[in-house]
Amino acid sequence: MASGTNTMNDTILKVEHLSMKFGGLMAINDLSFEAKRGDITALIGPNGAGKTTVFNCITGFYKPTMGMITMKQREGKDHLLERLSDFEITKHAKVARTFQNIRLFSGLTVLENLLVAQHNVLMKASGYTILGLLGLPAYKNAAKAAIEKATYWLEKADLVDRADDPAGDLSYGAQRRLEIARAMCTGPELLCLDEPAAGLNPKESLTLNALLRGIRDEGTSLLLIEHDMSVVMEISDHVVVLEYGQKISDGTPDHVKNDPKVIAAYLGVEDDEVEEVIAEVESEGGAH
């Protein structure tokens, strides 16, 4: 168990001095944080704080201007994510993601969506299509295993009954769950979710919490962006708060909840407190 707790506590993702510049705009400014293996790490902050930009840097959709993003895999292999292109990050570094505006293959069925996610495994099994075209049993077995894996995640996401329907036909909440299931079918060690609870009603939000906890308990670490505080405070083990591309707080949900800077960022402050808070922030920034 000692080694078990050890792996539970080591770092899976290390972001160091990450900066991202769009023209003159500094979207992320010298951001550093760590996500622990087996944790649900939440990235929160007001609109425009740069959360999605951080995500896009981690998953390779943006090339960061500066900084280093290290993904430590379970077998001890390290990947420098800023050097990999987007599809390699999922393929080799085992980081999967979902999108803020759902991106499903709406014309494919739910099952097919999950099979596309297992593309790289199936490609290898089909001998890069050539052996598969000949109808060798190796591919048939792999295809069967892929459907089993898909079924497993369909059950988790409560979508088995809709497996043969087009993904575009699902309700909004079901589409969110399908996108998460699809990302899980790539076999990730770190799953990045961009606002998974956006647009869900309270009941759907609860089932989502259960799904995310289930994913964590199976050994996949999560990094999520979220606006819905009930989701964040309930399920996350570790919260990082961003404002204007900078980290303003980092710690457990309780710590963050009571951090005056976070409260100021979210709720604003009384006029006479503003200067006080600014002074405080600046002195912190200067010390940093």
Partner: protein, 462 residues
């Protein structure tokens, strides 16, 4: 209930009669001056007028009766069918299929296999030439080209306006290698496909970074570049003169179709000397090539690569987030499509016995693309039907001699084929915006195979 039904039906009749008469009046008013009165110049160059009451009456009666029939019968029928559909709750894709519908593919295949035999029996060897060559082979070439392009456009969602370039590469590969090295059709057929696929990769590399309209324009340019090279590289391709005297295909090297050859096929089989046998032989070759194309496409769709193509059409960014190398995936789609274009090209060369750059103009690309779009992107059956309608329809126009009786002896119906082509496309797109077969067969299923309605699938944007 019955009285009510009778009431409504008699009410409907009264309404239909009323509307019919009304339409007749409007037609009378509209056509009175245009049709009812005609002006012409008489022998003294004076403008005089005369009346055409008979023709006007025909116009008015057609309008009145047409309106009457529409209101009384056609509209209620459409409404009833819509209502029945709504009641059963089954959308356009009905699960109850007729025998013909269920076994459509088998029936079509048997009909195609028997087609040349039937036409020889009906019209004799010489008479069958028209049906086998002009209709059969011509349509099947387009079916094959459209199925090849379908991989690129229909499955992977990459708009390729220069597909004819690969057709040209295949045709010239066969023509040049056969003329210069004397290789046989059966060696060059796969070679032409491989060369075309290779060109697909070469052209694909720089092009596939582009998306949507930009991709379409650049592929269009590549198609033209290949044609211009064929025209201007006269040392090799003989430019606009083209390459003639291309060797005929042999029956796997055992029999030949050259009349002078000692093992001339019809002689060996004890048949009369006629070019029809060669055409029938070619018909079966192109049929086999089509079937191979269909088989490979169907198999590929169930492979991870085929699913990745369709996923690419639906959402490229999502594909990349799932670890799919989109560049490699696009290239394979491009190369596979090009390969089938190359096969078709080498077949075209051996069938014509002559290739020139004129056969590979942009219009050909446009026709092939139109067939893919009309058939329903991604659907093999729909595309085959579209090819029959479009190519067979234009061939049929040549046969319409009776039109000369109506429009005068100078009328050449085939000149109007592009006009009719466009008209047919507009009509089909109005009523079936997703093509003849708009729904999509899923490649895998858990409980039951349900067709995916065309309203969910995307066309791809690059």
């Amino acid at each position: 209930m019955t009285t009510q039904a009778e009431n409504t039906s008699s009410g409907l009749m009264a309404k239909a009669v009323k509307e019919g008469i009304f339409a007749g009046f409007i037609a009378f008013g509209m056509f009175l001056l245009y049709v009812g009165i005609e002006t012409y110049q008489n022998i003294d160059n004076q403008l005089v007028w005369r009346t055409r009451w008979g023709l006007l009456a025909v116009f008015v009666v057609v309008a009145a009766i047409g309106r009457f029939l529409t209101v009384a019968f056609f509209k209620p029928m459409v409404d009833r069918r819509k209502l029945a559909k709504a009641k059963t709750g089954v959308l356009e894709i009905s699960s109850e299929k007729s025998f013909f519908h269920k076994h459509f593919l088998k029936i079509a295949l048997i009909a195609l296999l028997l087609y040349p035999i039937g036409s020889v029996m009906l019209f004799g060897p010489q008479g069958s030439l028209k049906y086998v060559d002009n209709f059969g082979i011509q349509i099947l070439i387009y079916v094959m080209l459209a199925w090849g392009l379908n991989i690129v456009v229909g499955l992977a969602g990459l708009l390729d306006l220069g597909y004819v370039a690969f057709y040209a590469v295949g045709a010239y590969s066969y023509a040049l290698l056969s003329a210069n090295f004397g290789l046989s059709f059966w060696v060059l057929l796969p070679l032409a496909g491989i060369l075309a696929g290779f060109w697909g990769v070469i052209l694909g590399f720089p092009v596939l970074r582009l998306r949507g309209d930009y991709l379409a324009i650049v592929t269009l340019a590549f198609g033209e570049i290949i044609r211009l090279i064929l025209i201007n590289w006269t040392d090799v391709t003989r430019g606009t003169f083209g390459i003639s005297g291309i060797a005929k295909a042999s029956v796997f090297g055992i029999w030949s179709f050259d009349v002078s050859s000692p093992n001339y096929f019809p002689k060996a089989m004890g048949l009369a000397t006629s070019s029809a046998w060669y055409k029938i032989f070619l018909f079966y070759i192109i049929l086999a090539l089509c079937l191979i194309t269909a088989y490979v496409t169907i198999r590929l769709r169930r492979m991870p690569i085929g699913r990745a193509w369709e996923a690419l059409r639906e959402d490229e960014i999502a594909c990349r987030s799932l670890g799919i190398n989109t560049v490699a995936t696009k290239l394979t789609a491009f190369a596979t499509g090009a390969m089938f274009g190359g096969f078709a090209g080498s077949f075209f060369a051996t069938r014509q016995g002559f290739v020139s750059p004129e056969s590979f103009v942009f219009l050909e690309s446009a026709v092939i693309l139109a067939i893919v779009v009309l058939g329903g992107m991604g659907s093999l059956t729909g595309i085959a039907i579209a090819a029959v309608v479009m190519v067979g329809g234009t061939e049929l126009l040549r046969e319409m001699e009776f039109l000369k009786l109506i429009f005068g002896p100078d009328f050449t119906p085939e000149l109007y084929r592009m006009l009719l082509f466009g008209l047919a496309m507009i009509i089909v797109m109005l009523f079936k915006p997703r093509g003849f077969v708009g729904s999509r067969e899923p490649t895998a299923f858990l409980k039951e195979r349900k067709a995916v309605s065309g309203s969910f699938t995307k066309e791809g944007h690059g």
